[in-house]
Symmetry: C2
DNA sequence: CCCCGTCTTTGACCCAGATCAATGCAAATT
DNA sequence: AATTTGCATTGATCTGGGTCAAAGACGGGG
């Protein structure tokens, strides 16, 4: 089993020493609530490419990603795929009011999640304004991200799309692991294409173009942002 | 002043007789909370094309649309525009954790909103799990819509985009005003284009095409879904 | 070390939708 | 009635990105 590109230490099993404790939903829980929450949740591992849940599955669990990377995507009946997001440790997945998830999630490389059943969690959260406010915050953050992504999908060129993706992905990794312009890309070119509303060929050509222009260097398993200012200019424009 | 295409009665001024009482955030408030809430909010009218708030404005208010239609959109520095949603009576607008809204909202035709300041509302909501849960529900609903729209923007053809928009818009109006296949379109072709990630010419041509195919009839100020089954098939595909 | 399968890159060509340019059309203005 | 104004439609042409096809490149298993 190859080591995860976005690794986080997972020493113990409890919430107290959870790697993700500080920046996930749980950040809003006090010591006692945390103890209670611990009872509701359990850690589950998935191998690379395993499906955590599918679009049409009844949504009976929430997930908190502890380690690894996931992709969230929707499929059209004819197989066209749109990736709606990549998930990093600390991200909360599965919020929904519907009976079905409405999108699928699978593992990009091995993944560890903190899984908890919707119903008991609902009861647990019901009278905890702190937790509810925290969940609101997360939902609104995702909504903001979703709207930004609509602009990208509807109104930006291939080059802008790729640059925006690379800068955004780097920024998320920086938040998680500290500053670096080396950007590991655990997802495939096809994943990137389906995230940006492009084909794999266009993504590949655009990477090459950005490299020719001296903006990035293509490395095995990722890229390096050589001229991060120009990349950011493309992303903003 | 021409009458709104999506009119709702606005007899009195209080919450008790608010046209939108039953299906907005306020649905989660009891009689007493409602009385308190009434103190925080006030009704404001906007003329056609007026801006309710802009992308870079500090987000000091929330809004509940009472009457009319609004468009929410983001602008790129060079003027490209992506409409991220149309707002109908009962919709809640302005949820954000950021200091700035991040998108603009303006009136399509005359509009009446129920406006309330963020800070006092925050204090009011802080310890009301019912209200917090309701807001969660709304945020998650919008998130689901946003994800559906990502699929549309990233992976669908012009014809599918237009059909999906028409069917979706009809369904929202049906919910509000009862079943009908006559679909008023208060927004301009340019608005539709900026919502679907197309140009105005392509929208126009696609309308004409759908009419030639007998799926819609183009009326002044809207369309009629002549063959709603075929429109829905295009929307689902 | 060498297949073999999978993923990525590159090239040649094509087309859906963009762009550019009139023209149509109806409400508002004189 | 004539004129302006602001869409919306239509036509002609162009092009960014898609499609199809063929090499690389790379890692895993024997």
């Amino acid at each position: 089993m190859k080591t995860s590109l976005v690794a986080v230490d997972l020493h113990g099993q409890g919430c107290a020493d959870c790697a993700v404790r500080g920046f996930s939903v749980c950040a809003s829980l006090d010591q006692f609530e945390m103890r209670e929450f611990e009872q509701l949740s359990r850690r589950v591992n998935f191998a690379s490419c395993e499906t955590i849940f599918a679009q049409e599955d009844s949504s009976s669990f929430f997930y908190n990603l502890l380690d690894g990377v996931m992709r969230l995507y929707k499929l059209l009946p004819d197989g066209r795929r749109q990736i709606v997001g990549f998930v990093l440790p600390g991200d909360f997945v599965g919020m929904t009011t519907d009976e079905r998830h409405g999108f699928s999630a699978d593992a990009i490389g091995p993944v560890t999640v903190c899984q908890f059943a919707k119903l008991p969690f609902g009861r647990f959260a019901e009278h905890k304004p702190n937790l509810l406010r925290r969940m609101n915050e997360l939902a609104v953050q995702e909504l903001n991200h979703a709207r930004d992504h609509m602009v990208l999908l509807g109104r930006r060129s291939a080059e802008e799309k790729v640059a925006t993706f690379l800068v955004g992905w780097r920024d998320r990794l920086v938040e998680l692991r500290g500053p670096s312009n080396v950007v590991p890309l655990p997802m495939s070119r096809q994943d990137i294409a389906d995230y940006l509303g492009l084909t794999i060929e266009t993504v590949s050509r655009t990477f090459t173009k950005l490299e020719r222009e001296g903006i990035i260097a293509i490395l095995p398993g990722g890229v390096s942002l050589r001229d991060s200012a120009r990349a950011e200019a493309l992303a903003a424009a």
